[in-house]
């Protein structure tokens, strides 16, 4: 009688720290945002309950829709490049054929250790049309100066920064996954006459699939929340990166420039919903492919 009761009381105790933090740091702010999004506070006239009015407004808000569209495009552009690079690096490291593997592993990973604020500032300097090294190099060669900070190039320039920052991070996840593949599989494949490329393609890549899916999910969330990089580059390209450039930046501007806290909560809530749907879609397609 005594033993089962102890087990029963110990369970909740172990779960409690998680549940408390989950409640405090996740559910409470989420609930509060949902609550805020049902009101409207104005500079003149105070606060009023408006029900779902904010949501109706947001669904027809072209600034929000453009922001979401832009980050979706960013996702499509940037994530495949970044994950392909991460896979390549992980495979190369795992092959054991690289010299200085440790140095390379660290080298690819180091950008992730640089805070994104610093990274954005650094790239902002590199992109500079007057004194940036690319511009100076182009001038040296009498070539047209690439305008990385123009309307046309900006999304690509941002994608480049994010790729630089996160390739190493994803590589580490994929590399760790590769290390868990039993070596017997490689031996068996080799005995069947498979070369290094064949092993990579037919044994390693399928083994990477769960880890790759994880990376993809992180990338969905990261892309749709894009904020730091555009927020910093806006100082040197104020006419290109507007306050509604990405959905997250738009929510921030609403709250801190326009003092529209309630509408900002609505926009954030909807953005969260978009991310949940996008993540779910990714999972669904991946799972369907795995079980044909």
């Amino acid at each position: 009688m005594a033993a089962p009761r102890r087990t029963r009381s110990a369970g909740p105790l172990f779960v409690a720290p998680f549940m408390i933090l989950f409640l405090l740091l996740f559910l409470t702010p989420l609930g509060y945002a949902a609550y805020l999004s049902l009101f409207q506070e104005r500079l003149i006239g105070g606060t009023a309950f408006v029900g779902l009015d904010n949501y109706v407004q947001a669904l027809g808000d072209s600034q929000l829709l453009h922001g979401v569209g832009r980050v979706a495009l960013f996702f499509v552009l940037q994530v495949p490049v970044m994950l392909a690079l991460a896979v390549l690096f992980a495979l190369a490291l795992d092959s054991g054929l690289l010299r200085l593997a440790r140095v390379i592993r660290l080298g690819v990973f180091v950008p992730y250790a640089v805070p994104s604020v610093v990274a954005a500032l650094m790239w902002g300097y590199l992109y500079g049309p007057d004194f940036g090294p690319f511009a100076q190099f182009a001038r040296e060669l009498s070539l047209p100066v690439p305008d990385f900070l123009s309307d046309t190039w900006m999304l690509g320039s941002l994608a480049n920064i994010v790729t630089w920052e996160f390739t190493g991070y994803n590589m580490i996840i994929l590399y760790a996954a590769l290390r868990t593949v039993p070596t017997e599989l490689y031996e068996a494949a080799a005995m069947d006459g498979a070369g290094a490329w064949r092993i990579a393609w037919s044994v390693k890549l399928p083994a990477l699939r769960p880890a790759l899916l994880l990376c993809l999910l992180f990338s969905v969330i990261g892309s749709f929340q894009l904020f730091n990089e555009p927020n910093l580059l806006t100082k040197i390209a104020p006419d290109v990166i507007t306050s509604d450039y990405t959905a997250n930046l738009y929510a921030y501007s609403l709250a801190f420039t326009g003092q529209q806290v309630n509408y900002a909560a609505t926009v954030s809530f909807l953005l969260g919903l978009v991310i949940v749907i996008a993540s779910y879609a990714v999972l669904l397609t991946a799972n369907r492919r795995r079980t044909p």
Partner: protein, 458 residues
């Protein structure tokens, strides 16, 4: 201390004290959160002030002024019981964002804050600042330059802050570049435009000036000079927005035209590229404010000796005028528990002869007090960076030509952001600036309406 009295009590006090004021103004002042403590509107007696100043107190002061501890030491020497704790919460907008968050949260706000003139209405609309009249602030009026007092007072005569420094606008120019190309210092905007074309034609790497596409403050200063009244608030909930009226359109056509022709620069200011351009002589002038001479001598060291100062070119040479860009004040937060001490500190810091002088010698502030502007020790300064020219004297002369009636909107951040994304964008993109003014006007109008204001506009 009246801050703990019940709302109805303080309201009665308020109505008695301001019997002479119109009902509209009284309603305005009472229209705020009735739950918040109302400030005293009856003068606080000297005995109460003396008593408070002898009570051990710690004031928290958010400011970005470097080395302000020196000025504060003078205050603490006079009032040993009151200590001032300085917190740097960022300069300008970052500080306001933190302040707004603290005020909303209901805790964590300081007793006093550094506040730029243009931000004051943004915080009085939310009833966040303390009216300093009961603490004798009105008596200081005559010490300050007229237009600064217009910037810190409310429609009901409230004194929301004490001026600290100012930024009347003038023109810093490169004498060497002017001499090389035979350009006279332009005194009218027509001459300025002609000089811009001439200079750029003579040397395609040089522009007469740069009108930063990310700098709404400079645009507002130029509007101010041209006599525009872009925002007029006769009462708390009424505002007339006219950022695309005739004066604005004249300005838009002028600057947009020069930008489109490509004879002036439009790069964002205070960036690496812009600093380098100033050092390299890409821009022959900087249309800027009175705080700029000291700033420039620190950030464009390579060009020492080549710069001079002059008033802005004029629209009407017979009636010289200027606008203001920058400068700031000290304001007391309404929710402070130490209203008397905070109000006395704000006044001492910015009107005491010793502290105000120290601001000009330690921080190189451009003063807001008439006494210093007329003081030969200040105006006689002849820095070598400006070839021995008495730069302070030039700007002191400009200071008296700033119009006293310019007003700011109670939603400055929105106005500034919208400017950058419409007018600024048109300058940078060599597009139609006059039609961009229309977009600015309509964006601001719909924002103001959405915030519950009764909006009139051109």
């Amino acid at each position: 201390m009246p801050s703990n009295t019940s709302p109805s009590m303080s309201r009665r006090l308020f109505l008695t004290a301001t019997g002479a004021l119109s009902l509209g103004a009284a309603l305005t002042a009472c229209g705020g959160d009735s739950g918040k403590s109302q400030s005293a509107t009856q003068p606080v007696s000297q005995a109460d002030i003396d008593k408070a100043m002898k009570t051990p107190t710690e004031l928290t002061f958010w400011t970005w002024v470097p080395n302000i501890a020196k000025e504060i030491a003078l205050f603490e020497k006079k009032y040993p019981a009151v200590k001032v704790k300085v917190v740097n919460a960022g300069q300008g907008t970052p500080q306001y964002t933190k302040l707004r968050t603290a005020l909303k949260a209901g805790s964590g706000a300081p007793d006093l804050v550094q506040m730029e003139y243009q931000a004051i209405p943004t915080f009085t609309i939310t009833n966040s600042l303390l009216d300093l009249r009961p603490y004798g602030a009105d008596a200081l009026k005559s010490r300050f330059v007229e237009w600064t007092w217009g910037q810190v007072t409310g429609t009901g005569g409230e004194v929301w802050a004490i001026p600290q420094d100012t930024g009347p606008m003038g023109m810093l120019y490169r004498k060497d570049i002017f001499d090389k190309h035979g350009i006279q210092v332009p005194t009218t905007w027509d001459e300025f435009a002609a000089a811009a074309r001439k200079l750029h034609r003579a040397d395609p790497d040089v522009y007469l000036t740069n009108l930063a596409a990310n700098q709404p403050a400079a645009w507002h200063g130029l509007l101010w000079q041209a006599g525009a009244k872009p925002y007029v608030s006769p009462s708390r909930s009424d505002i007339t927005i006219s950022v695309d009226d005739a004066v604005s359109k004249k300005l838009g056509a002028y600057w947009g035209g020069l930008a489109k022709e490509g004879v002036i620069g439009v790069e964002p200011d205070f960036t690496d590229g812009w600093y380098a351009a100033l050092n390299k002589g890409t821009y022959a002038t900087w249309l800027t404010a009175a705080w700029a001479p000291a700033f420039l001598s620190g950030s464009a060291k390579d060009t020492a000796g080549n710069w001079r100062a002059a008033p802005l070119p004029q629209w009407d040479a017979a009636k010289p005028s200027s606008g203001n860009w920058g400068g700031s004040t000290t304001a007391v937060i309404r929710g402070t528990g130490n209203a008397v001490q905070a109000a006395v500190f704000a006044q001492f810091l910015n009107s005491d002869p010793a502290t105000t002088r120290m601001f000009t010698t330690e921080q190189f502030f451009f003063p807001a007090t008439k006494a210093l502007l007329a003081d030969p020790a200040f105006t006689g300064d002849a820095p070598a960076f400006y070839g021995g020219q008495k730069v302070n004297e030039v700007f002191a002369g400009i200071s008296s030509t700033v119009d006293a009636d310019f007003q700011w909107p109670p939603f400055l951040d929105q106005a500034a952001t919208d400017w950058t994304e419409t007018v600024g964008k048109s300058l940078a993109g060599h597009a139609d600036t006059v039609s961009a003014l229309g977009s600015w006007q309509s964006r601001l109008t719909s924002y103001a309406k959405g915030q519950g204001f009764t909006v009139k506009g051109s």
